[in-house]
């Protein structure tokens, strides 16, 4: 091969909404080297990686891969070409197996007829995993796996695609030292094999240990690239942080008052921070510095009541407080400016006025009514004090620039006159002018006596503004510094993360194991439950229950919901729903029956029914997709539309006296077993094969698990959605023909209520109502269970009028149980 560089990025410029993220950045990676990439938060590392791996397009600049100019439109393209990336916080398909997560995009092992060969796939995944020195069950759902293992699996999968360049983004932040050693061994193997590895990390010691060369980025520029031979950490830190603030900010001398906020030993429930003790005094600015993952935002959010800490004491003005919700935080005098303004702070379509006043509305209201004059005055004050550039306070906030939006959200909290103000990255993504203004505001607030906790990843900003700087690393407080006496390097060095000694594996609790067991063997459990109930009924009503006639009735009443439930299950798997299938079925039932009466041969009627079903269903799904609205509205209207059409088609009359040939499609037995059973079995098997063994089926499930992850690997939501509605429609058509054939007539209310039975069957059978998980066998058993329960109600002479309650209650029960079991097992994305 003998290229000088396997990957070269040069002259890369990228702006986000006017704010530059990268300025003529460059990176050169040699084959068979481990190349470190370091820089503070906001230096541009993530943006550069995203451009290199095809997630973003550079505004300017060139990418050369193996000395050929390349342009990637999607990450999939980049990966297929040989540039792979493993993120720490990747979106994954939580309910699908690890093996599938690894191989769905890259190639599941196929068998005869193009069907998926699962033993082969699991074997391949297991091989890849063990080649990384790991041992775990690749059949387990990915959501329950620790971050470390997920990452190893991802690396193995990326490597399997013959990646020539591999980007590792913060690979060790969740690993124990043993796992890190293993990872380094694998990295060295890859290096021997000629792969160019880009190792992005804040853990400078590790970078110096494993990397051959290191590139330092700062403020969107590549500052320097050097061999790591003989390089010290202090030197790297110095290159990372050495720069000017851009303007002079001098904090005025204010006498610092009493302690306003006192935190003792605060520890998070999820391990993001532990044993933090901090005091903040009136008129004092305490800076909190650290890198990504240090736990600073989680700490501030726990103080503000967004999350509940596991232990610790928080006191305001000397009084201990228990803050469980943001509302309580505010009434105790706290305010929190969120880190991610777009997701956590801004209501883009609401007016500036609303955004400014939202935290103060309670105070501004009397008898529940907002006093408009005072609200407008508050908004005016915010505009004035924050120097917001806006045409009017009625303007939607989204029309303002990022800096002005930030100022409004800042003003929102300032208007609550807090005693303690928690600022999380207040100047992130904000232009220089606005930054200056915000700094001045912070200074003014401190002067007025507010206690301020300033979280920032910009060292010059924190050093210039804070009276004291506290460093966070890996969820712990690692130091306290005085900007006057201590230098930037010392502070930065204290913030550099280091590996922790204890392991990260969690042993599953007994409750967890039980939940996992119940979920995995759900179908067996359902079957057992059905048999149990049958046994009980046989005992309670020996003549009524256990005779052929009754069992046939149960079978018949289960058959049609069972068929339609498979369609409902598929739609739910992709994250949608169709509640019009009952009325649709009634319409098709009438139409096909009338065609039969008009002399059409039975098979043609069946074909008509299927075509009608597919068309109606595609209309439902297609309209919702095109208009980008949730299918509920379309299918809700569909109920009335199909019911109305049915009445028109039948002219309000029953359809009876159907020709024998038509009825023979559904009625009667073959080899002593009712024909309906064959249909049900056939549909169940086909659905099962489709869902489990074909790519379209797996894509449906992937889409239902995570739309973003699905899009990232190039799956088309449109295709999967339309396919799933088409299949459901075909099944509705089939059920319609069978309904008329078996019962011999079509009435005005034929089909009504079937959609609920279908959904109930699917949910009982283990389909996740939110999408991403489904089972054809489970759905079949669910339909059978519902029919059995109905039969029990009748035989036990319970009022038939309570049946409707059953279906509703079953759905609720099944959904709640499901959610509880999932949470216990811990398989959340």
């Amino acid at each position: 091969m003998g290229h000088d560089f396997v990957l070269q990025l040069s002259g890369i410029h990228k702006r986000f909404g006017g704010v530059p993220a990268l300025r003529a950045a460059h990176l050169e990676v040699r084959p068979g080297e481990v190349h470190g990439l370091v820089g503070e938060n906001g230096a541009g590392k993530s943006t550069l990686i995203n451009i290199a791996t095809g997630l973003l397009r550079a505004d300017e600049g060139e990418i050369l891969f193996e000395e050929r100019k390349v342009r990637f439109a999607t990450p999939r393209q980049a990966a297929a070409a040989g540039i792979a990336v493993v993120h720490q916080e990747a979106d994954l398909f939580a309910q699908l197996s690890i093996a599938e997560n690894m191989l769905l995009a890259r190639g599941l092992v196929r068998g005869p007829g193009g069907l998926i060969n699962w033993p082969g796939t699991y074997r391949r995944a297991a091989e890849l995993v063990s080649s990384m020195g790991e041992q775990f069950n690749v059949r387990d759902p990915a959501g329950g796996l620790s971050v470390a293992r997920r990452m190893m699996a991802e690396i193995a999968a990326a490597v399997s695609e013959k990646a020539r360049v591999l980007f590792l983004d913060e690979p060790t932040s969740s690993l124990a030292s043993k796992e890190i050693k293993n990872l380094f061994a694998q990295i060295r193997c890859l290096r021997e094999a000629g792969v160019g590895i880009v190792y992005v990390s804040h853990r400078l010691e590790e970078v110096l240990e494993i990397c051959d060369r290191v590139t330092v980025m700062r403020d969107g520029e590549t500052v320097e690239t050097r061999p790591t031979e003989g390089l010290t950490m202090e030197a790297v830190v110095g290159t990372m942080v050495g720069r000017e603030l851009g303007h002079v900010f001098s904090k005025r001398r204010v006498s610092i008052g009493d302690v306003r906020l006192s935190v003792q030993n605060l520890t998070a429930r999820d391990g993001s921070f532990s044993n933090i003790s901090i005091d903040v005094r009136a008129a004092e600015i305490v800076g909190l510095y650290g890198f990504v993952g240090a736990g600073r935002s989680e700490f501030a959010q726990a103080l503000f009541g967004v999350s509940r800490p596991a232990s610790g004491v928080v006191a305001i003005d000397g009084r201990p407080v228990a803050i469980r919700q943001p509302r309580q935080a505010v009434s105790n005098g706290l305010a929190y400016l969120p880190e991610d303004r777009l997701v956590q702070g801004v209501f883009r379509n609401q007016s500036l006025r609303t955004n400014a006043s939202v935290a103060s509305l309670g105070r501004l209201s009397r008898f529940g009514l907002v006093r408009r004059r005072e609200e407008r005055a508050l908004a005016e004050r915010v505009i004035r004090d924050m120097n917001v550039r806006a045409a009017s306070q009625e303007q939607p906030l989204g029309t303002l620039s990022g800096g002005n939006q930030q100022k409004v959200v800042f003003g929102r909290w300032q208007a609550t006159a807090p005693k303690v103000l928690l600022l999380d990255e207040p100047t992130r993504g904000v232009d220089v002018g606005a930054k200056q203004e915000i700094h001045k505001l912070i200074g003014d607030l401190a002067e007025q006596g507010t206690a301020i906790l300033l979280i920032s990843s910009e060292l010059p900003e924190i050093m210039a503004m804070s009276d004291r700087v506290v460093t966070f690393s890996e969820g712990r407080k690692t130091g306290e510094f005085s900007p006057e006496k201590d230098g930037e390097e010392a502070v930065a060095a204290a913030a550099v993360p280091r590996a922790v000694e204890e392991g990260t594996a969690q042993a599953p609790t007994p409750a967890r194991r039980l939940a996992a067991g119940m979920l995995r063997f759900r179908e067996a459990g359902l079957l057992g439950f059905i048999l149990l109930l049958s046994g009980v009924m046989a005992g309670l009503r020996p003549e009524g229950f256990a005779n052929a006639r009754n069992l046939l009735d149960i079978l018949a009443s289960a058959a049609l919901p069972a068929i339609m439930a498979q369609g409902a299950m598929l739609i739910i798997c992709t994250g949608g729903i169709d509640i019009s299938v009952g009325s649709m079925m009634g319409l098709i039932c009438a139409w096909a029956a009338m065609a039969a009466k008009a002399g059409w041969p039975p098979t043609l009627c069946l074909a008509l029914a299927v075509v009608l079903g597919v068309s109606c269903s595609l209309l439902n799904g297609g309209t919702a997709l095109l208009a980008r609205i949730h299918p509920i509205i379309v299918t809700l209207a569909g109920i009335s539309i199909y019911r109305g059409l049915m009445r028109i088609v039948t002219a309000g009359k029953e359809v009876t006296l159907l020709p024998d040939g038509y009825r023979a499609l559904a009625d009667g037995t073959i080899l002593g077993i009712p024909k309906l059973c064959y249909y049900v079995l056939g549909v169940t098997i086909v659905t099962h094969v489709m869902l489990r063994y074909t790519l379209p089926g797996r894509r449906m499930l992937a889409l239902g698990n995570s739309e973003t992850a699905a899009r990232l690997i190039g799956l088309s939501k449109t295709r999967s959605t339309l396919l799933v509605f088409a299949v459901s429609g075909a099944l509705v058509g089939l059920a319609a023909v069978l309904q008329a054939g078996y019962y011999g007539k079509v009435q005005a209310n034929t089909g009504s209520g079937l959609e609920l039975k279908a959904i109930a069957a699917a949910v009982i059978g283990g389909t996740n109502i939110l999408g991403g998980r489904g089972s054809a066998l489970g759905t079949l058993l669910g339909a059978f269970l519902v029919a059995l329960l109905y039969n029990m109600l009748i035989l036990l002479e319970a009022s038939s009028y309570w049946q409707s309650i059953f279906v509703g209650g079953l759905i609720l029960l099944a959904v709640v149980l499901d959610a509880l079991l999932e949470r216990l097992r811990g398989a959340s994305a």
């Binding site: 939202v358 309209t623 509205i633 109920i639 019911r643 059409l645 049946q803 409707s804 759905i811 609720l812």
Partner: protein, 322 residues
């Protein structure tokens, strides 16, 4: 700006209403009979008053499919307590409203605190509450209600002119709309509702009590459904378990036609009122013109879909985010 957008929408709805009215007045004999129109408003008032809380619920990006079932259940509670438990009508009415409130509170609790999507919860309770109504009443209608209750549905509240009166249910509807408008436009309830619908996480961070408010909205919806049941029972002089069948579609259609987007973030009570009038006039006009009810119901369903799509299209064109 959002307010301006909606205002334009409400104006457009008004024009549409006028245009429809004009078309029907010309094309259909006897349409413009003030007396008949006013009588018709009795029937509009039931879904209409339910559309007010539904506007808030949809504005939070939620939905309540069980409203019609709650009406049925409350009506049966009213009837049974009055007939079988021999309670005075006022007490039975209070209990019926309470039943509605509890039903709504359950919806709210299951969706806000158990975190089950409101669509799923109310789909299930739609069947559940209807079943309760069926079971309690054994599918038998209950009648023989006192005049006081009948007045709620069939009576009039004030004289408008010679021979013209304002029907009680319609007056109640107007009060409901007025209260709803005040809540949405002038009170923090409406403001917080819109914020929750637009960005629930930001609403949490803005110290809005999201779960409490959502639960209260669903409970309030149940309460209004209970009240609607009183008017409904009075109007038909009967409490039946299958009353208000399919009414959830109409109620949601009022809200969607009124301009409120399914994805939430803003809501217009006046719009819902206009939506109600449009559906009502459309139904009334078509029926007077001799169009059979099965066609009318298709038209309403199609109108709902078309309007929902149109709402989204307009919002995207105006650059509304999300």
């Amino acid at each position: 700006m959002i307010q301006r957008l909606l205002l334009a929408r409400e104006a457009v709805l008004f024009y549409v209403l006028l245009a429809m009215g004009a078309v029907f007045a010309i094309a259909v004999d006897g349409f413009l009979d003030a007396f008949s129109l006013l009588e018709r408003t009795r029937y509009w008032a039931i879904p209409g008053m339910m559309a007010v809380p539904m506007t808030f619920i949809i504005a939070t990006a939620g939905i309540d499919l069980s409203v019609a079932s709650i009406v049925a259940m409350s009506g049966i509670v009213l009837g049974l307590l009055f007939r079988d438990a021999q309670l005075p009508i006022a007490v039975a009415a209070g209990a019926a409203v309470l039943a509605g409130l509890s039903a709504g509170a359950f919806n709210g609790w299951a969706s806000s605190y158990l975190r089950i999507p409101p669509l799923v919860v109310t789909l299930a309770t739609m069947a559940l509450f209807r079943g309760v109504a069926m079971g309690l009443s054994k599918a038998q209608p209950i009648s023989d209600f006192p005049d006081g209750l009948l007045w709620l549905g069939q009576g009039n509240i004030v004289r408008l002119g010679s021979d013209l009166y304002l029907p009680t249910p319609f007056a109640a509807l107007l009060i409901a709309v007025a209260l709803g408008w005040v809540l949405m436009r002038r009170s923090w309830v409406g403001r917080f509702t819109e914020c929750i619908g637009e960005n629930e996480m930001a609403a949490e961070f803005a110290a809005i009590g999201v779960r409490r408010l959502k639960m209260a909205l669903y409970a309030g919806c149940g309460l209004v459904c209970g009240l609607a049941a009183l008017f409904n029972t009075g109007l038909y002089a009967t409490a039946k378990a299958d009353t208000a069948n399919g009414m959830e579609l109409e109620v949601i259609a009022c809200v969607v036609i009124g301009g409120t987007r399914i994805s939430g973030g803003q809501g217009s009570v006046i719009g819902s009122l206009l939506g109600l009038c449009i559906i009502g006039i459309l139904r009334y006009g078509l029926e007077m013109a001799g169009v059979r009810s099965q066609y009318v119901v298709i038209v309403v369903g199609a109108l709902l879909i078309v309007t929902a799509v149109f709402n989204e299209w307009i919002a995207r064109r105006r650059g509304v985010k999300g």
